[in-house]
Amino acid sequence: MHQEILLNHMPDGWCFDCHNPDNRDTLRLANGKIVSFQESYYLCAQCHGTVFRDWKVGLHGKRTGMWDGEKQYLLCVHCHWPHDPVFKPIKPLPPPVKPSDIR
């Protein structure tokens, strides 16, 4: 199963840059601090600091729910698969009908 993981993130990176070798259910920051998977954004923020700053104020990423109340936040890994984080192209929905195609 682990053989299927293609690491397409960080050239020359490897598993224990992020995963904690002593307890695989946690993550480890570069400074040795252990963080849980629920707080994985601290790990991402080590390199992507400016994006983290935008994410904290709600510019990067997506929030749903109430604009003046309870919001649902998405973490980095909800959208970016950490082993291959770049967004894949998707199929667009159909274009509007051209006036010339209206019968």
């Binding site: 935008d54 104020v57 709600g58 510019l59 990067h60 990423g61 997506k62 929030r63 749903t64 729910g65 109430m66 604009w67 003046d68 109340g69 998405l74 959208c79 967004f87 192209p89 998707i90 199929k91 667009p92 929905l93 159909p94 274009p95 509007p96 009908v97 051209k98 209206i102």
Partner: protein
Amino acid sequence: MKKRERNRMEIPVNRRTFLKGAALGLAATALPLNKADASFWEAFFQKYYREMNDEEKKKVIQRLEKEYLQKYKKEIKVGDEKALPGVLFGYGLDLSRCIGCRRCVYACVDENNQSKDPQIHWITVLRFKKGEKFTDLEESEKYYNPKEVPEPGYFYMPVQCQQCEKPPCVKACPTQATWKDPDGIVVVDYNWCIGCRYCMAACPYGARRFNWAAPNRKPEELNTNTHYLGNRPRYKGVVEKCTFCIQRTRNGKYPACVEACPVGARKFGNLLDPGSEMRYLIEHKRVFRLKEDLNTYPKFYYFFAYGR
């Protein structure tokens, strides 16, 4: 004195009686007496929305709900939530992230009960070649249909109603059927619109749409949570436009397009709240407004999250 016999056959048809009869006959044909139920006459004599008090609005809404129940065989709630105090809505769109997938366009259609055929979309996604002068909207392509987006060498700019602070469409309307509410949303009263389309000619963003035919939409596809000034079912011959999903945002929710965007390029918030994401992006990011030189003061901010 000679008593004149007056029976039907002996009324002398002089010029005056002829004209009287003709006027009555014409009036009878002009007013569709065949659908002269109470609801028709109530609609005919409906007051201007902004001059109605709460009681009168309630009556109008009850009538509309009854009409929709008859027409669509479905319970449709028509709201009339007023603008919240201390709120001015603003919208942000991150051009460095939009991939042109049109998810917002169809989320909007589902939320706001636009006609399917003839097709009405409130959002138009424009595609530009990178390096083109993209403020020239004539150079853009809106019918692009590749296998996959984003395409290399292109970028995308969705355009919808910019909810101007000085809306030229409002100035153009001869019946004042469109106006700017205190929270900044430009709304249309579909019962007051006469379909002259002056507002469409006045809008520099091409954001208004016209119902050339009766809106065509299956009853089971209707969104039943509606607003009088927003997404309630429209009539033939009226103009409609984006209202920032008035039925959602006046109840605190995000617009449907914000929630649909798969890359999170769309931002929404209160411009008067210094802690909102809208204020942060205006203060910290590179921001522009479309056709700013026209003095329309749009509240729709295009920005670039990655300050290249």
